[in-house]
Symmetry: C2
Subunit: 372 residues, 2 copies
């Protein structure tokens, strides 16, 4: 069994236990779901149907691409169903001989109007749409990386570290002067090293714009790494998996407030990383850092971190909320990214990727705050 | 009244007529809704609440950004509601004094599980979640561009045309040799000319990969514009609005089949553009081109075109389906993008942006199939 077959088999066992006859995974422009790729190798724009009796049916928009790279028992082009999701589900019901009354699990991202429409179009079928069903099962499966995935992370982390060093050097020698210089340097170098691309639009903000948690626009032709704080947040995608790091460039002279923010973020990053270990609740890691910031009279307007994988934001979460139930386990990879933002001083954030190990953690990347 | 106030006033009038007391617009990573920007100028990551009695409340993730650029009667940071959508809706209900039983319209993209959760959390409130309500009203409003938006389109089209010319030239003189060369040339030149960025990840596929409707990965370090068909599909974003064009580079010698595909796509583009005029159904434009392709024994695996604006794909659609009810009106801007794809021959697509005018149409961009 290849890895996709193994993963689908784990879903099939889960479906049998849960009494789900047919599972629907959907990835289209309106709503992406990397579980499609995790289960079939097909990267995007398709429906994937899994039967509790075994067997998978992939319905891709681009059938030529699917035939080249996807792993599924059967491939039928979406055009065969007039590019209509309900028609494709009906086709899967026929293909697998799913009887009326047997539960069919729809994607948890199905909108309320779409769900009502499907209920009308598929009378007699028991349609499930929930977050604590297949979604949570797949998220939990994707959250713990296996040996092959961790090996990919060692590769993408090494390339990421290489570019961290080259960007630092390029800024120092004055080769990378603008936000666009930096962002496009990363885009080019990533592909030269065999990366698929970047995991999200590179966020590159000079001192005028670094106050933004996620600056807008993502990068401009404006100056980078001039006096004050500049932020660079990027991720590289290698074999589908994305890294996610943030560097801050702090060009002197800094104000007293900026010096303070710099030290607070450095300390918060160390506290956050130290808190990452198996058995700990993700929310508690976030709470530890929030408590530190609160004790120093500041606050962070975003979560401390999140899982990374086929998606730039996936399970587990380090957000300091009680409804964040994730417990860290060996094989999970999370970002730790404390940041502080002020209108005058700008923003300072430090983000690295951390693998949870049996005994604690291993920091995979070496992002840093660069003093200039 | 500025443009955002005018647009919100048109929504308020609609709400009064429809009996909706409170409208919720939501744009976050999981589901983007450019109506947020259309109504407030705030680009992303926020909730916007509109009351039928007038008044708007913006709840942004990044309050510093909002205070700089957003237009709303009141701004309250999302953190004030613990970054929880239900809590923010409750806050808006209090803020506007919405009485129980009065209809509250939620985003049509609300998932079924989220809708059920909100119904539990907001007992006594009449929650609406539908596609033929506010969503269709906003889509229809956004589909017809006003004079200022058309002026922006003249600018972004001119920049797009300039880059079309420069890419053609760069390929011809051998300066742009790889997919990455071409894609990053566009990224850089766009920002040098004041663009926010690109409207979607630039799709750049040399002859080995042009068979893909949307190639994957978007661009690689592989060769571009070598013998056969290469496709370049890109859009530039200026003041929020995106263009969307596709060039094909056809390097000789072409096979007999490729020569045939080239002529068919050229003819289909002319037929498609000629069919764009006010009063015509979008689906009929698509059907006209599909009928042409069918008469020649080929078929197109995607829709003929779509509206463009704050989103790369918006209303009206030119998809040849009976449930596509859009009727073209002056001020609408659509893409016309016939394409043919074959495993051996590769893909050939030609896409331009077309403004519907009082008397017919005006082609805004000058993308082309470049013979090399």
């Amino acid at each position: 069994m290849n890895i996709y077959q193994k993963r689908r088999e784990s879903v099939r066992v889960w479906m049998k236990r849960e009494g789900v006859a047919l599972a629907v995974i959907e990835d289209f422009e309106a709503k992406r779901d990397p579980a499609l790729r995790w289960l079939s190798g097909h990267p995007m724009d398709a429906l994937l149907f899994l039967s509790a009796n075994g067997g998978s049916l992939l319905v891709p928009w681009d059938v030529i691409l699917a035939e080249k790279i996807a792993d599924a028992d059967k491939i039928v082009p979406f055009t065969a169903f007039d590019r209509d999701t309900a028609a494709a589900i009906e086709g899967a019901i026929r293909h697998f001989g799913v009887e009326k009354g047997r539960p069919i699990e729809l994607p948890s991202a199905t909108t309320y109007p779409a769900f009502c429409r499907l209920r009308e179009k598929l009378p007699g079928h028991d349609l499930l749409c929930r977050e604590d069903g297949l979604r949570d099962m797949l998220n939990a499966g994707r959250a713990v990386k296996d040996a092959a995935e961790i090996a990919v992370y060692r590769q993408v982390s090494a390339i990421t570290d290489e570019l961290i060093g080259q960007v630092e050097q390029g800024v120092k020698i004055g080769k990378l002067k603008t936000e666009t210089d930096v962002a496009l340097f990363i885009e080019r170098e990533a592909r030269l090293r065999g990366c698929e691309g970047t995991g999200f639009e590179t966020l590159c903000a000079g001192p005028e714009r670094s106050f933004g948690i996620h600056c807008f626009p993502a990068y401009t032709n404006g100056p980078f790494a001039t006096t004050g704080f500049s932020i660079l947040d990027f991720g590289l995608v290698y074999q589908g998996y994305t890294s996610d790091v943030t560097m801050t460039f702090a060009r002197e002279p800094l104000s007293a407030r900026q010096e303070e923010m710099f030290l607070l973020v450095l300390e918060a990053a160390a506290i956050g990383i130290a808190a990452v270990r198996p058995g700990v609740r993700g929310s508690d890691v976030g709470k530890t850092v929030n408590a530190f910031f609160t004790s120093r009279g500041v606050s962070m307007p975003h979560g401390l971190g999140h899982g990374i994988g086929l998606e730039a934001h996936e399970a587990p979460s380090l957000v300091a909320k009680d409804d964040n139930k994730w417990i860290l386990q060996p094989g999970m990879i999370v970002t730790v990214e404390p940041g502080l933002y002020e209108k005058g001083a700008g923003g300072c954030r430090l983000e690295n990727d951390v693998l949870v190990t049996e005994n604690g953690n291993e920091v995979l990347t070496s992002s840093r705050i660069v003093r200039l």
